[in-house]
């Protein structure tokens, strides 16, 4: 009986909810025509508020000079410098690094082989040789050194935390809360506050990377520990194991492959963050991209971006292969061959310390400049041929959709927008969403960058609509068709590992500097993750359910709309949520290329010391927008069914 009545309720409530939202939006538009221009809280580019000036004046208050932060900075700096000494720069009184390129290639390939297989070892050697040939050896090694430092520190923190969260329910809850927040923050945001504590340079970059890269490892370690079958743990306990024995002999070995997936994600995240950290003067390939971006040198930017992608692919494939390695212990033959390989590596390292040709990557064969020239030519050609078309698309979308939306958001009084957002949150998620919405709106007004926030929000909303539409279509297609899935997975993976602002380069060429460029880049950046989550959700629909639907003669469309999408509803909500967050992050980065608004405010805060406070406030506003959007989409997610029926 109870089940029947609750079904009826859902049937009645759903259409009503959408009607209410429709009415709300109509009322808003009507009110806009009456009230536009009142209380819009504008703030010019160089204008600041008292709060901003206060932040600027107190920038040294907590930062440099504080013993605690200085100690951390020194320790992290030393680690990074040590790694740089090893592989990337002249050190210990020699004109070359401790280990030359031959040694690095040999060691990397050997590790890839030992932990993975010979295929990824070949890939590693080829990938490193390629970036060397691009003329980017030293930059690549800097990036690698920074990545390794950040990954080591991340894992040092993340794995124990993950184990703890895996073993204790309370720790798991707290960790989930904090990790949600950490991952909600767009990467670009905490760079600014961190420089306040750790000064500009490798230390702040490493710590920012740690914050960004640690969550996946914590999450997956905890998840792995928690998903060890309870019977195996019970079996171990029933035989009288101590806690330590159960942990080391059962839980950890059985979590190994999932933990490696976490490490893989941490490495990928670290690599992408290390390049973004170029904004706060981190060395490496990110610098090259950033400099090229500032001079609009598409060719050089693409060359460096390509190197990042190559390194990302190598790291990804090696760690994936390491995770896929079966449980079996190595055979005697493999041990012998591995031993022989180790001797080969030592020889290569010795060469790289003895001969200049093996220490410094030969520069005669540079293919980097050729790549840069070709890219520049292609870009120019594309601009010539498609320029009219792409500019046309840009102008149509900007005038037809973006401008009205932006006008609605920025032209309405702040309290009207606030009221609409809070009402929307209340409809979707009751007080659980409404309360955070009230808090976020209030704080957004307090930051003093309300209007810039609304401009950013307009771009974010538009891009998210496109992302969700494309992501749903692709995700359903890939979820239903294995071959499509196999075909687009690598593309999606590449799309996700590419550092965010590499995207901007080709879009700059196609669309010039504009808000639309950032939107287009954001769409491309966010579609992979949305598609992946939707596809996984569709694939997780039980085969029997789909077969049952087919057996009563449903058409494909009916199966999709009546079975697969409703069953995968939670995954789809998650996809929308993640899509929003990714879009927001990219729209903010787009502030660098003329999208203006919050992203520009933050960038200006780096560049002009008198705008520092405003930049910080804008960073805060980004976080608030992120939390607001995250809470509303999370609250709109359907509750799990049958709660309380089963333990």
């Amino acid at each position: 009986m109870a089940a029947i009545t609750s079904d009826v309720q859902v049937e009645v409530r759903r259409p009503r909810r959408s009607v209410i939202i429709g009415v709300l939006l109509v009322v808003w538009v009507a009110a806009y025509f009456l009230l536009s221009g009142i209380d819009t809280l504008p703030l010019g580019g160089q204008e600041t508020t008292g709060f901003h000036r206060w932040l600027t004046e107190n920038r040294d208050f907590v930062g440099q000079g504080n013993v605690f932060f200085d100690a951390i900075r020194t320790a992290v700096d030393h680690l990074v410098v040590l790694l740089q000494d090893l592989v990337s720069r002249p050190s210990f009184g020699r004109p070359v690094p401790v280990v030359g390129w031959l040694g690095v290639v040999a060691i990397s390939a050997y590790l890839a082989w030992a932990f993975g297989n010979w295929k990824v070892a070949l890939l590693t050697a080829a990938g490193l040789a390629f970036v060397g040939l691009q003329g980017l050896w030293q930059e690549s090694m800097d990036t690698l050194a920074l990545t390794i430092a950040a990954v080591l520190l991340s894992l040092l923190v993340a794995i124990p935390l993950g184990i703890w969260a895996g073993l204790s329910n309370r720790a798991f809850k707290v960790a989930t809360l904090i990790l949600d927040l950490m991952q909600t923050l767009p990467t670009f945001v905490y760079l600014a506050p961190l420089t306040l504590f750790f000064a500009i340079g490798p230390a702040a970059a490493t710590i920012a990377t740690l914050i960004y890269a640690a969550p996946p490892a914590v999450r997956l370690t905890a998840h792995a520990i928690r998903s060890v079958p309870p019977e195996s743990v019970e079996a171990s306990r029933s035989l009288g194991s101590t806690r330590g024995q159960t942990l080391t002999k059962v839980l950890l070995p059985m979590s190994r492959s999932t933990v490696v997936v976490g490490i893989n994600q941490t490495i990928m995240a670290a690599l992408s963050m290390v390049t973004v950290a170029a904004l706060i003067d981190a060395p490496g390939l990110g610098q090259t991209v950033l400099k090229a971006l500032q001079t609009l040198d598409v060719g050089v930017a693409f060359n460096a971006g390509l190197a990042i992608v190559v390194i990302a692919i190598v790291l990804d494939r090696v760690t994936t292969a390491a995770g896929d390695r079966p449980w079996r212990t190595a055979s005697v033959r493999r041990k012998v061959v591995l031993g022989a390989g180790a001797i080969g590596v030592l020889v290569a390292v010795w060469f790289s310390r003895t001969y200049v040709w093996a220490a410094e990557f030969p520069s005669e064969v540079g293919i980097g400049s050729r790549i840069a020239v070709i890219t520049a030519d292609v870009t120019a050609w594309v601009q010539d041929v498609f320029g009219g078309f792409t500019y046309g698309v840009r102008d149509a979308v900007t005038k037809g959709v973006l401008n009205p939306l932006e006008a609605l958001l920025t032209g309405s009084p702040w309290w009207l927008v606030g009221a609409v957002v809070v009402t929307l949150a209340a409809i979707l998620g009751r007080w659980k969403a409404a309360v955070p919405a009230v808090v976020c709106i209030g704080l957004l007004v307090a930051t003093g960058v309300w209007q810039d926030s609304m401009i950013t929000l307009a771009s974010t909303l538009l891009a998210t609509v496109v992302v969700v539409a494309v992501g749903l279509a692709l995700g359903v297609w890939a979820g239903r068709n294995r071959r499509v899935d196999l075909a687009i997975r690598p593309i999606l993976d590449a799309g996700q590992t590419m550092p965010p602002f590499v995207y901007l380069v080709p879009f700059l060429a196609l669309f010039g500097t504009s808000r639309f460029t950032a939107i287009a880049a954001a769409v491309v950046y966010a579609v992979p993750v949305t598609t992946k989550i939707v596809a996984d959700g569709i694939k997780a629909v039980p085969v029997a359910t789909v077969e049952a639907a087919n057996s009563v003669g449903s058409s494909n469309w009916q199966v999709i709309s009546k079975v697969q999408l409703p069953v995968a509803r939670r995954a789809i909500t998650l996809a929308v949520n993640q899509g929003l967050i990714y879009v927001l992050a990219m729209v903010v980065v787009g502030g660098l290329v003329g999208a203006g608004a919050l992203g520009y405010d933050v960038a200006a805060g780096f560049a002009q010391s008198e705008l520092y406070g405003k930049g910080l406030a804008a960073g805060l506003a980004i976080v608030l927008l992120g939390v607001l959007l995250d809470r509303i989409t999370q609250a709109a997610a359907p509750k799990p069914h049958g709660k309380g029926d089963k333990q």
Binding site: E231, E234, S238, L239, G240, S241, K249, P253, M254
Partner: protein, 371 residues
């Protein structure tokens, strides 16, 4: 069905394991439920509504004799798996006492409990609970490893039990390379490797195919005969319970409904629930002559063939029907009663037992049109 079976109740003195007033309540402030009579007497739904708690095991008391196969039976959710875990405190009981060989298990500290688990108890799990990253032999010797035995010792002992359960030749395979039945043999071997006094089985064969299940049941019967361990065996399968159990505890909603031998459950069900439960059992395979013997009528000839009281009805059917006079049931020279054709037929073709009358293959032979 008049003759009540005299089975000696096992008293606390010669019991290996003695359980008194055992409770396991899940939920907020679970402690209060067994303590307060007005809560303890509520049924499952009322208790959940009033306190948010679920009583998985409620007020169980029983003794397990040395060498006995004690079966705990019930449908899913009846609390039987929780009960078996409470016995070694894998799940901490909420109230009650657990006495093992005169020692109060509930008073044992973590260290003592570990020592007991390492040497006195072992458990076999429904989904095997094997460690996928270890070879068969390392799975089997896991218990020896955690109690700190040297590698050669545990290898030797593991090899012994591997041979005992019929796994020889598979020592260096990984669990995933074995079939379900073989995996459960590994689980069995692992439990035996410690040489425990008590083996606990938690629905060990539920996940197996019927044929493999029967094979494994026979294996347990054989092992019980060879190693003579005390076993507590949880199952939801009545035929398995009847086949293996010396005594059976039938549980429902955490409470005991009936405790007795297989023929007691079938012959004298405690209530309608039990009667319903055992309805489909072929009674002739379970009941003995003791259950159907009646006092001789006046003038009945008492020179028919003699049979013992523990003979199964099925075994006696042919003889009774062939004999032209009532068969005498004799125990130690004393006449317990007689059995005629109608008593036998009442069991073999019990009209109250729908299983026998309603079977279509009996009513209509195979000339039914195929569809």
């Amino acid at each position: 069905m008049t003759a009540q079976l005299e089975y000696p109740e096992i008293d606390d003195d010669n019991a290996l394991l003695s359980i008194q007033g055992l409770w396991k309540v899940f939920g907020p402030k679970a402690q209060r439920v067994p303590r307060r009579p007005e809560l303890a007497s509520l049924d499952r739904a009322a208790l959940a509504a009033k306190t948010g708690c679920t009583a998985a095991v409620r007020d169980l008391s029983f003794n397990v004799a040395p060498g006995e196969v004690f079966v705990v039976m019930g449908l899913s959710g009846s609390g039987k798996s929780t009960l078996v875990r409470c016995l070694t405190r894998l799940i901490e009981p909420t109230a009650g006492s657990l006495i093992f060989e005169g020692e109060d298990l509930r008073a044992a500290d973590e260290k003592r409990l570990r020592a007991l688990r390492r040497s006195k108890f072992s458990m076999v799990f429904q989904h095997f609970g094997l460690l996928p990253h270890r070879k068969v032999i390392d799975n089997v010797s896991y218990g020896l490893e955690v109690r700190g035995e040297s590698k050669p010792d545990r290898r030797r002992r593991a090899q012994e039990v591997i041979d005992l359960v019929g796994l020889a030749g598979n020592e260096h395979k990984y669990p995933e390379q074995l079939s379900g039945g073989m995996q459960q043999r590994v689980g069995l071997a692992r439990a035996l490797a410690n040489d425990p006094d008590v083996l606990l089985f938690d629905e060990p064969f539920s996940a197996l195919d019927p044929l493999i299940r029967r094979e494994m049941q026979n294996e347990v019967v054989r092992l019980h005969r060879e190693v003579g361990k005390t076993m507590v065996f949880v199952t939801h399968d009545l035929s398995e319970a009847l086949k293996l159990g010396d005594r059976i505890l039938l549980m429902r909603d955490g409470a005991a409904i009936q405790l007795g031998t297989g023929d007691e459950l079938v012959g004298a069900p405690a209530d309608d629930y039990v009667r319903d439960f055992v309805r489909d059992v072929p009674r002739a395979d379970v009941l003995t002559l003791r259950w159907i013997a009646r006092s001789p009528r006046d003038g009945e000839p008492l020179d028919g063939p003699e049979l013992g009281p523990d003979t199964l009805v099925r075994e006696a059917t042919r003889l009774v029907l062939a004999s032209d006079r009532p068969v005498k049931v004799v125990d130690g020279g004393q006449l317990l009663g007689v059995i005629g054709d109608e008593e036998i037929l009442a069991v073999v073709a019990d009209p109250a037992d729908s299983h026998w009358t309603a079977r279509p293959s009996d009513a209509q032979p195979s000339d039914r049109p195929a569809f």
